[in-house]
Amino acid sequence: MTLTTTLTDLANPTRFLSLTARVLPWLTATTAILLAIGLYQSAMAPDDYQQGATVKIMFIHVPNAWLSMFVWGVMSVAAFGTLVWRHPLADVAAKAAAPIGAAFTFLALVTGSLWGRPMWGTYWEWDARLTSVLILFLMYLGLMALWRAVEDPSRAARAAAVLTLVGAINLPIIKFSVDWWNTLHQPASVFRMGGSTLDRAFLLPLLVMAVAFSLLFVTLHLAAMRNEILRRRVRSLQMMQASRQAA
């Protein structure tokens, strides 16, 4: 890889780096403020007559569950970018999003488990919703493993893009199958995680938290993309260093 081709490849990312460097501080501040507002509103919301105060875990669980699926959607768009449009930053976006999506999914699992504990008596129940999220978590982890398994980032990107799109197609199928499996063996559980109807008092904090977590994703994602670009630069420099003749 000559010096000129290396620089050409990094030209677009350079603009990206300078743009995000300016935008990120504002994004971070806005996210922090929104999260604070959302958490305050959640704390102030009334207790549920049936579940007591534990219903407030919903304000963290539900946005995280939404985001876990939304991030896979973002990765799918990035996958299109890699395979079809060949956008230079698409694979960076995809790789950076995977661990963040996995983290949101993990949070959804943990908060879901804690939410259900008082009702179930156990930390885990194999109910349809939670199990689907668990499978999604496994898929995220598998994707992250695939990124690490191939040393060359652009080859890894194509493999990961295919897997992401296959996963996107399969997610509804998996969801349907798990729902079916669950009703096959058990009567529908009394405790529904979605809640029967959302009281207006719950709706506002939930929306604020949803927006706050989405902004959190954007902030983290941009920061992660910056890191990935820098990481690739280091790798290119190391490769150039290795091919240099000894002094």
Partner: protein, 216 residues
């Protein structure tokens, strides 16, 4: 020290690749094993190294350390470079220094001698084919063993690399070492020749000194 083979026969992949070879190499001597592709050059080296079993004849080492086998007193430089891409260049070399056993010298110094010390801390995956060959040569310098079994040692080396190889090998021979090298190309050192194939083995007594700097 003298390494000798009498009537060496061996079978590989179901066919007899060596049928009754004789050779002798003493301290300070190099043996160049030549022949067409598939004639059995690699098989001879691997038989001496103990990886391939003899089906007839014998290979003996006189004058070496009594408690050690022949393989434990030999270096083998094969087609592949025994290098882990995930480890750094220095980590690769340090591992062999610690693991092989024998008289050892400084790994960093060896890297400097072969000209890749600027890549010492980089992942070995970033080395070119010629640099990997140099790393293998560094291994030969870091752990001192009297016998060198080399399979196409100058392949992938540029002309500087071939000069380096010739110098390093001459040093080894001057210290009383033995070199057995399978090769297509001129090695750049004085060597006895053992030709395999072409209607029977032929040990030429002439000291062939091939022209230096030929293309690998």
């Amino acid at each position: 020290m003298q390494l000798s083979g009498r009537g060496v026969r061996c079978v590989r992949g179901g066919r007899e690749v060596l049928s009754g070879l004789d050779f002798t190499v003493s301290s300070g001597e190099a043996l160049a094993v030549t022949g067409a592709n598939g004639s059995g050059k690699t098989s001879l080296l691997r038989t001496i190294a103990g990886h391939l079993a003899l089906t007839g004849g014998s290979i003996d080492l006189e004058g070496g350390e009594q408690e050690l086998t022949l393989a434990e007193q030999a270096h083998y430089l094969g087609h592949r470079d025994a290098m882990k891409p995930a480890l750094s260049v220095l980590e690769n070399l340090s591992f062999w220094r610690d693991f092989l056993g024998g008289e050892i010298s400084d790994a960093g110094q060896s890297l400097k001698l072969v000209g890749i010390e600027h890549a010492a801390l980089l992942p070995a995956a970033y080395l070119s084919a010629g640099q990997r060959r140099r790393l293998s040569i560094a291994r030969l310098l870091t752990v001192r063993r009297p016998i060198w079994l080399l399979d196409e040692p100058t392949s992938a080396l540029d002309s500087d690399g071939q000069t380096l190889f010739a110098n390093v090998t001459r040093d080894h021979l001057a210290r009383g070492g033995i070199v057995v090298a399978a090769t297509h190309a001129p090695l750049g050192i004085e060597a006895k020749q053992l030709r395999i194939g072409d209607g029977g083995p032929l040990v030429a007594a002439l000291n062939s000194k091939p022209s230096r700097g030929g293309a690998a």
